[in-house]
Every structure is written in structure tokens, then in C-alpha cells.
């Protein structure tokens, strides 16, 4: 290429610059021995505190859900399966915590967590804010089918006390 022809002194000058620049690099690396705290977190013992609006596992508080279908419409990967029937007219209409009447009876609310892309679009459109992203990030399963969460089961409704802030 257009490299200069190597001279006798150039040969030694190359060795000198290589050793010198490497020594500078070594010194920079060596200084990390002192005064630098380790940044690694010893995971199972120490857990990182995640920010408040972390988007992790979804949780739907079905007691406050008005079955408006907004979450299922906005989901870009269609991972929310929701169905409901109109409430019979002779019954009283119960209300959510924030006073919105529940005109529909929720019969199915399943989220396929394995399909979810954690984009957060469903939580922003929720009118009663019952669907939220929690800070849980440890939910691996052996079977893909186990990743389907049916939020109408008693087990998952019991999470309400743990996850929903009072």
C-alpha cells in the first residue's frame, strides 16, 4: 500500500512506540485496582431496585375491570384474550373502586405472557387503570402453556393484596 519503507531506525522507533502506548494502556487498566467499586450485582442475594415505571409482568385487577376491550384492541401482538356478557337488567350494577359502573360480566381474561412484548400500550389505554405492569421479573416456566395467566382464578386474584398499591 502507501506505507513507507521501513528503515533501521524506524524499526526501533516502532518498537518504542508500541511498548510506550501499551504501557500507557496497562497503567490505565492497572489503576482500576484502587478506588473503583465493583459494579457487578451478586444477583440471587442482592437484587437491583427497579424504577417505578418498570414494564415487567402484567397484572389485571379483575375486580376493577369494566371489560371495555381497549387493552385487547391496542395490543400489537394480540396476546390478550378477553370476553364478557352483558349483565342481566334485573341485577344491581356494581361499581369499581373509582366509581365506574361495571355493565359487563367478565367471563374470560387471559394474557399469554409468553407472547407479550412488554410495550406498555395496553396499560396506557386502560380507563380504570386496573391493568398494570408490575415489577416482577422472575416468572420462568417449564411449559409454554403455563405462561398463560387466567386472571379470574382465585390464585391470581390473591396477588391483588401483594401487587396493588393501596
Amino acid at each position: 500500500m502507501n506505507e513507507e519503507r521501513l528503515t533501521f531506525f524506524g524499526y526501533f522507533r516502532n518498537i518504542y512506540t508500541a511498548v510506550k502506548s501499551s504501557a500507557i494502556g496497562m497503567w490505565i487498566t492497572f489503576r482500576y485496582v484502587w478506588g473503583k467499586k465493583p459494579v457487578t450485582i451478586e444477583y440471587p442475594e442482592v437484587r437491583e431496585v427497579l424504577p417505578e415505571n418498570t414494564r415487567s409482568r402484567l397484572y389485571n385487577d379483575v375486580l376493577n375491570c369494566i371489560s371495555c376491550n381497549m387493552c385487547a384492541i391496542s395490543c400489537p401482538v394480540d396476546c390478550i384474550y378477553i370476553s364478557s356478557v352483558p349483565r342481566p337488567k334485573d341485577l344491581d350494577i356494581p361499581k369499581c373502586d373509582d366509581g365506574t359502573p361495571k355493565r359487563q360480566v367478565l367471563t374470560q381474561y387471559v394474557i399469554d405472557t409468553a407472547l407479550c412484548c412488554y410495550c406498555g400500550l395496553c396499560t396506557t389505554v386502560c380507563p380504570t387503570e386496573c391493568l398494570t405492569h408490575t415489577e416482577d421479573y422472575e416468572f420462568s416456566q417449564y411449559e409454554v402453556e403455563d405462561m398463560k395467566y387466567d386472571y379470574l382464578t382465585d390464585d391470581l386474584i390473591a396477588w391483588r393484596d401483594r401487587l396493588v398499591k393501596a
Binding site: M1, N2, E3, N14, T17, A18, K20, S21, S22, I24, G25, I28, T29, V39, L50, P51, N53, T54, R55, S74, C75, P76, C117, Y118, C119, G120, L121, T124, H133
Partner: protein, 391 residues
């Protein structure tokens, strides 16, 4: 003692192999798709003559996810999480291009505060992306510690993005009409502290890697791409600037509030005795761009003023009939989004012009005549992300 009664075949003396009779052919080596030096799932089929590359053919498509087709089935807001997954190391920049295309077609006015936040965030994203390019490039060439230092700094930016948007990699932070969450004063203080520390880090990277004689020997005069070739291949971004042309969309065709900010466009000029357009220049342009990005973030923080962060957009977005082409300067080059609408709730076509795809086509041109180890350096210096190549 055993004797042989039968007739032995007449033994022949073996043919002496002279140089003229020796057969020689090119050896085919598959580099990838799980090769760590190819930055993802790129397979390069190399015909080698001993250690020298005679021909290199990149095979792409291992990360193809039918992105563009998927976008045709979902509404305009739902496309944003998909464009995140194009260039997963600089997701904010992809969101910016797409949301600007939709906003321009809708005629939405983005509030001033949202514009400034977008500038800050996309410049921080540029730093994060270039840090990744810097770290992995040093890793390709056999230096491990720069990679760790780069990740240490990148982690701080990702932490800020996590607080802003809630995710570390695929943000969905830029919405049509503005941004999702507001940036708080504590976060701005965090950014300023980070920038102060980062300037010292940049000096350290310069001493540790850019001035290192071994690194220079590995990258200088290697994989030279002349300006003429860069034009004919349609190269953009640091690859074009490394070849010596000061072409930056932030200067040429300003968007966001870049026209109010003072910055320079770094160009490869054969710094420190290198040839213009070689791997070292492309690498060095990225390092200089990080310095410019620090300046840009500092200036745009001063422009922040209280106000709304999202403009008025109807709940169901319906674009008028027509099409638009929007392009922005992403960390890897010029990203274009061609959006065609027929007035429905979903886009008719979302065509994405990706810089990485263009830059992959340069590889067969610069490969012949290189050593295999230099070819690894060439791949690293163009800094491709396969999520964007395959889409």
C-alpha cells in the same frame, strides 16, 4: 519365517510432485452465523487463498421477522414497538424516524418541550450506540478491557432510559405527537453528572485504544473505501464521513432543534497517519461524534422549558391518503421510512431504508486481498446490526 509364494505386483515409484503438477484451489470458509465477530447472525462465505480473502459473499436473512408485513396489520401506534426491534442498539432513533413520519402526515405540532427531550434522548442514544460499537470493535481486535469500560458507561444511559420509559432496550418512548413520560430535574442532574464523567472517560478511551500502536497497526490502511466508492454504494453516516465527506442530515436537513444547536460534523481526514476511508477513520469519526453529542446534550438541556410533552392526537389515528418519506441521521447512518396510507386505520405499506443493509453490500468490495483477521476488522468498522439488515 514366512515367505510369500504369490506373485507380487510390480511396485511403482510414486510420482514426484512438482510445483507445476500441484493442484491448488480456493478454500471455502463459512464465517458465522454464530461467529462472535460478525455482530449478530451474519454469515459470510469466504473463498480463501491460504490466509488471504479472495472473495467474500455475505448471506443475510437469519434474523428476518417480516417486520414490514407485520406493520401493515396493526394500527399506527402499535407499529412503534415493532420499529424498536429494527436496530435494537439504537431503538430511540428508529422510533423518532417513524413517529416524525406519522406526525408530518397528520400535521400534528409537537410541543417544544417534547422536541427538546427528543433531542436529548436521541443524542444520548447515539452515545450509547457508539459506545457499543467502540467496545465490540476493540473486542474484535483482541482488547477486552475497553469493552468493559464502554459497558460501564452505557449502563448509566440505559438506567436513565429505564427510568424514563420503563424498559432497558425496547423503549416505546417516543409516541406519535410527543413523548411518553416527562424528564424530571433529578434525571437532568443525572445526565449532567454523567456527561462530566464521560468527558474524562473519552480522554481515557483515546489514550487506551485510539493512540495504541497495536490498534493503529491493525486498523490503519485496512479496508479502505474511497469516497467515489462510498458514493456509488450509497454509504451514509460514519462510513461516508470516514471516507471524507461532511454529510450529516442534522446539518444538511435539520430536524428537531438541531438548527439552533452549535456542533461540528467530524470527518475522517487521515488522522494520525492513516489513509482516508480506512477502518481507523471510520472508528475515529465515531469517537469524535461522541464528543459532539456531549456538546449537543449540554446545549439542549439549556433549551428545556416547562410545557406539555404530548400534542393533540385523536384516539384512533387515521392518516390522510398519500405517502411520505422521512429520513433522519441514526447512529449507523441515514434511516428512511417510506409510509404509504390509503386512509385506513393501518398503514398500507411501511418501507424501511436501513443504513446497515447498504453497508453490508460494501463488504464484498473491500474484502478481496485482505487477511482474514483484517476482514474481521473491516466488518467491525462498518458496525452493522443484523436486526436492521434483515428487518
Amino acid at each position: 519365517m514366512q515367505t510369500w509364494d504369490m506373485d507380487l505386483p510390480e511396485l511403482q515409484e510414486p510420482e514426484t510432485q512438482t510445483g507445476e503438477k500441484l493442484k491448488s484451489e480456493l478454500l471455502t470458509v463459512n464465517m458465522g452465523p454464530q461467529h462472535p465477530a460478525t455482530h449478530g447472525v451474519l454469515r459470510v462465505e469466504i473463498k480463501t487463498d491460504s490466509e488471504i480473502v479472495a472473495k467474500a459473499i455475505p448471506h443475510i436473512g437469519y434474523l428476518h421477522r417480516c417486520m414490514e408485513k407485520h406493520c401493515e396489520a396493526i394500527d399506527y401506534r402499535g407499529v412503534i414497538p415493532f420499529v424498536d426491534r429494527l436496530d435494537y442498539l439504537a431503538a430511540m432513533s428508529q422510533e423518532l424516524t417513524y413517529s416524525m413520519a406519522v406526525e408530518k402526515m397528520l400535521g400534528t405540532e409537537v410541543p417544544r418541550r417534547a422536541v427538546v427531550i427528543r433531542t436529548i434522548v436521541s443524542e444520548l442514544q447515539r452515545i450509547a450506540s457508539h459506545l457499543m460499537a467502540f467496545g465490540t470493535y476493540a473486542l474484535d481486535l483482541g482488547a477486552f478491557s475497553p469493552f468493559l469500560y464502554a459497558f460501564d458507561e452505557r449502563e448509566k444511559i440505559l438506567r436513565l432510559f429505564e427510568e424514563l420509559s420503563g424498559a432497558r432496550l425496547l423503549y416505546n418512548y417516543f409516541w406519535i405527537g410527543g413523548v411518553w413520560n416527562d424528564i424530571t430535574d433529578t434525571q437532568i442532574d443525572f445526565v449532567e453528572n454523567f456527561l462530566d464523567g464521560f468527558e474524562k472517560e473519552l480522554v481515557k478511551y483515546d489514550k487506551l485504544v485510539s493512540q495504541n500502536r497495536i490498534f493503529q497497526e491493525r486498523t490503519m490502511h485496512v479496508g479502505t473505501l474511497s469516497l467515489e466508492d462510498a458514493h456509488s454504494f450509497g454509504a451514509t453516516g460514519p462510513v461516508l464521513r470516514g471516507s471524507g465527506q461532511a454529510w450529516d442530515l442534522r446539518k444538511v436537513n435539520p430536524y428537531l432543534c438541531y438548527d439552533e444547536l452549535d456542533f461540528e460534523v467530524p470527518v475522517g481526514e487521515g488522522q494520525r497517519g492513516s489513509t482516508v476511508g480506512d477502518c481507523y477513520n471510520r472508528y475515529y469519526v465515531r469517537m469524535l461524534e461522541m464528543v459532539e453529542s456531549v456538546k449537543l446534550v449540554r446545549q439542549s438541556i439549556k433549551l428545556l422549558e416547562p410545557g406539555p410533552i404530548i400534542g393533540k392526537v385523536s384516539k384512533v389515528i387515521k392518516l390522510p391518503k398519500g405517502e411520505i418519506y422521512m429520513r433522519t441521521e441514526c447512529p449507523r447512518g441515514e434511516l428512511g421510512v417510506h409510509l404509504v396510507s390509503t386512509g385506513e386505520k393501518t398503514p398500507y405499506r411501511v418501507k424501511i431504508k436501513s443504513p446497515c443493509f447498504t453497508h453490508t453490500s460494501i463488504l464484498p468490495h473491500i474484502a478481496p486481498g485482505q487477511m482474514i483477521a483484517d476482514f474481521v476488522a473491516s466488518i467491525g468498522s462498518i458496525d452493522i446490526v443484523l436486526g436492521e439488515v434483515d428487518r
